[in-house]
């Protein structure tokens, strides 16, 4: 059984402010508890199937210039520099 404190901790780690605290946490709590049904699926011996993707089938790792001058579409830039929010 998942506790409400655990849910609150995950929300904090995910950088999410939870409003309507009680109702919200209860709903998430119900959803996670529903997932307990997976315990009775009897899949403990099952292997997780993976699909290999050979490197050769990936597209070439090279820079493709964008056709337009994206920087001019930004609201806050100077020359070739974009102003990002100051965080510290």
């Amino acid at each position: 059984m998942v506790t409400e404190e655990e849910i609150e901790q995950v929300a904090k780690l995910m950088k999410i402010d939870v409003h309507d605290h009680k109702e919200f946490v209860e709903k998430v709590h119900d959803m996670i508890n529903y997932f307990d049904i997976l315990d009775s699926a009897g899949v403990s011996e099952e292997e997780i199937s993976m699909k290999d993707l050979p490197l050769t089938s990936l597209r070439e790792d090279k820079h493709i210039p964008f056709g337009e001058n994206l920087i001019e579409k930004l609201n806050n830039y100077k020359g070739h520099y974009v102003r990002a929010p100051k965080m510290v």
Binding site: L13, K15, V28, D30, A41, V43, I48, F66, P85
Partner: protein, 481 residues
């Protein structure tokens, strides 16, 4: 102008000079103006659609080569990027986001002279199955506007059902094309994973989602699949379509084909009228020469929990980019520390997105991954094996697309578990990667019921043949709006 024609009829009539692209597109825009106040299928309408149609008419008149769509009006779910057009994912977080490039499906449709009449409403970031989680208000079912149209591609299905356009593109992560198609009485197709490029589709759960067409007829779906399918160097999960012509031989029928009736999708909780319609569909397919038998796929019982665990995990990762540093909106930074700034900025997410992000942080986290995420992946693997085994015996599988009839707006919005279970018949094909299609089949108490057919991996063409056969057995009334 008769707007109630199929895509193929439209192409034929424009080619023959019976109608012009301009007249048809103008009438479609008028129709949107007349009915969309009631339905809210669209988030934005393309103000240049008619001008574009005029250009196509000019091309036709001057004998220039014209693309296969001949100016056909199509709506696009608002999580698919159209260059220089707003793409909001029905979220306030992306309210002012303008896509700087075209999705591959959009490039292909542009090349074939389709006209995008507008961006269709959806559940925020495709998380939902009623369109009630759109940050801009729900779409309404054109069969009865007190009822949900399904989702998350609800706006797409409504726009086709209510004759606001001829076809639409949606995206299907756990039934988001087939569910609204069933609720609105149109055709909704989820192709084999990889058959249609996802480049330019704003990601929700990459490992299982696909773009799919919503149309009036199965033939129209085949027509669009001819345009949309195939390898794309921008999406490494795409697969060869083998130069298939999905329209050729579509009338082959299903004589002698074996169809498995999935027992786990016909049991507890199914609406009696949906059960009766499914049994009727089975009888009709038998009447066309198919052999139908019951089949059991045990893992279906766990598929919804597996689906939500996997999709929440991928959503938690995909939505991390909406932090107001990479994507977001204007929100002053003064007075905030790093984490609290991001938390405050994310207040623009709706409640369902926040719930799924928290789930997505929880189920794969240290200490919980073994109980939830890894187990969900194991269920996915076992389900895929069971589905493969079923196709050793059967050519197709059948089940109702949704086990219940469309329900009233607001009826289930506060009960996430009840909403989960509406997905039970559709998530299997996403988890196993197989193609499936919802075909409009009957109307009960004025509300539509769709029947879902499923085929083995890569058997999309054969699936469309079976769907065409089923479609040929029904004659449904017109939408009453």
């Amino acid at each position: 102008m008769n707007l109630k024609i199929s895509a193929l009829e439209y192409v034929e009539q424009v080619k023959n000079g019976d109608i012009s692209a301009e007249d048809f597109v103008s009438s479609s825009i008028d129709r949107i103006k007349n009915v969309d106040d009631k339905l809210h299928a669209f988030l934005q309408v393309n103000s240049k659609a008619v001008e574009h149609a005029q250009q196509i008419d000019k091309k036709i008149k001057s004998g220039e080569k014209v693309g296969q769509c001949f100016g056909m009006p199509i709506s696009i779910k608002d999580n698919i990027c159209i260059k220089h057009s707003k793409t909001t994912c029905a979220s306030k977080m992306l309210e002012k986001f303008t896509a700087p490039y075209d999705a591959t499906v959009i490039s292909k449709l542009k090349q074939e002279d389709a006209i995008f009449v507008g961006k269709a409403n959806m559940d925020e970031f495709a998380m939902g199955l009623t369109t009630e989680f759109s940050a801009y208000g729900p779409s309404k079912n054109p069969w009865n506007t007190d009822y949900v149209p399904g989702g998350s591609s609800g706006g797409s299905a409504v726009s086709v059902s209510a004759f606001e356009c001829i076809a639409s593109l949606g995206s299907d992560t756990g039934g988001s094309v087939r569910n609204p198609a069933s609720f609105c009485s149109v055709v909704g197709f989820k192709p084999t994973y990889g058959l249609i490029s996802r480049f330019g589709l704003i990601s929700y759960a990459n490992s299982i989602e696909q773009i799919g067409p919503i149309t009036r007829t199965v033939k129209d779906t085949a027509f669009l699949l001819n345009i949309l399918s195939g390898l794309d160097s921008n999406d490494n999960t795409t697969i060869e379509n083998g130069n298939q012509d999905y329209l050729a031989d579509i009338d082959s029928g299903i004589e002698g084909k074996k169809i498995g009736i999935i027992q786990e999708m016909m049991g507890e909780g199914i609406d009696p009228s949906v059960l009766s319609a499914t049994n009727d569909a089975v009888s009709k397919l038998e009447g066309l020469g198919a052999v139908c038998e019951k089949v059991s796929i045990d893992m279906v019982k766990y598929s919804v929990a597996s689906y939500y665990t996997i999709t929440a995990t991928e959503a938690g990762s995909n939505l991390a980019r909406y932090d107001n540093l990479r994507y977001g909106y204007e929100f002053p930074v003064e007075g905030f520390e790093f984490n609290s700034y991001i938390s405050k900025a994310r207040a623009k997410f709706g409640p369902e997105v926040i719930r799924r992000m928290i789930l997505g942080g929880f189920v794969p986290s240290a200490g919980h991954a073994g109980k939830y995420f890894l187990k969900a992946l194991k269920v996915k693997s076992k389900l895929t094996k069971e589905v493969k085994d079923a196709f050793k015996k059967f050519d197709y599988l059948i089940a109702p697309t949704v086990p219940v009839l469309p329900f009233k707006l607001g009826e289930k919005i506060d009960d996430p578990i009840a909403l989960f279970l509406v997905d039970i018949n559709t998530v299997m094909s996403n988890l196993s990667g197989i193609p499936s299609i919802s075909v409009p089949f009957s109307i009960s108490n004025g509300l539509p019921i769709g029947i879902q057919l499923l085929a083995n991996h890569g058997e999309d063409k054969s699936l469309l043949q079976a769907a065409k056969a089923l479609e040929s057995t029904v004659n449904l009334p017109e939408v009453p709006i």
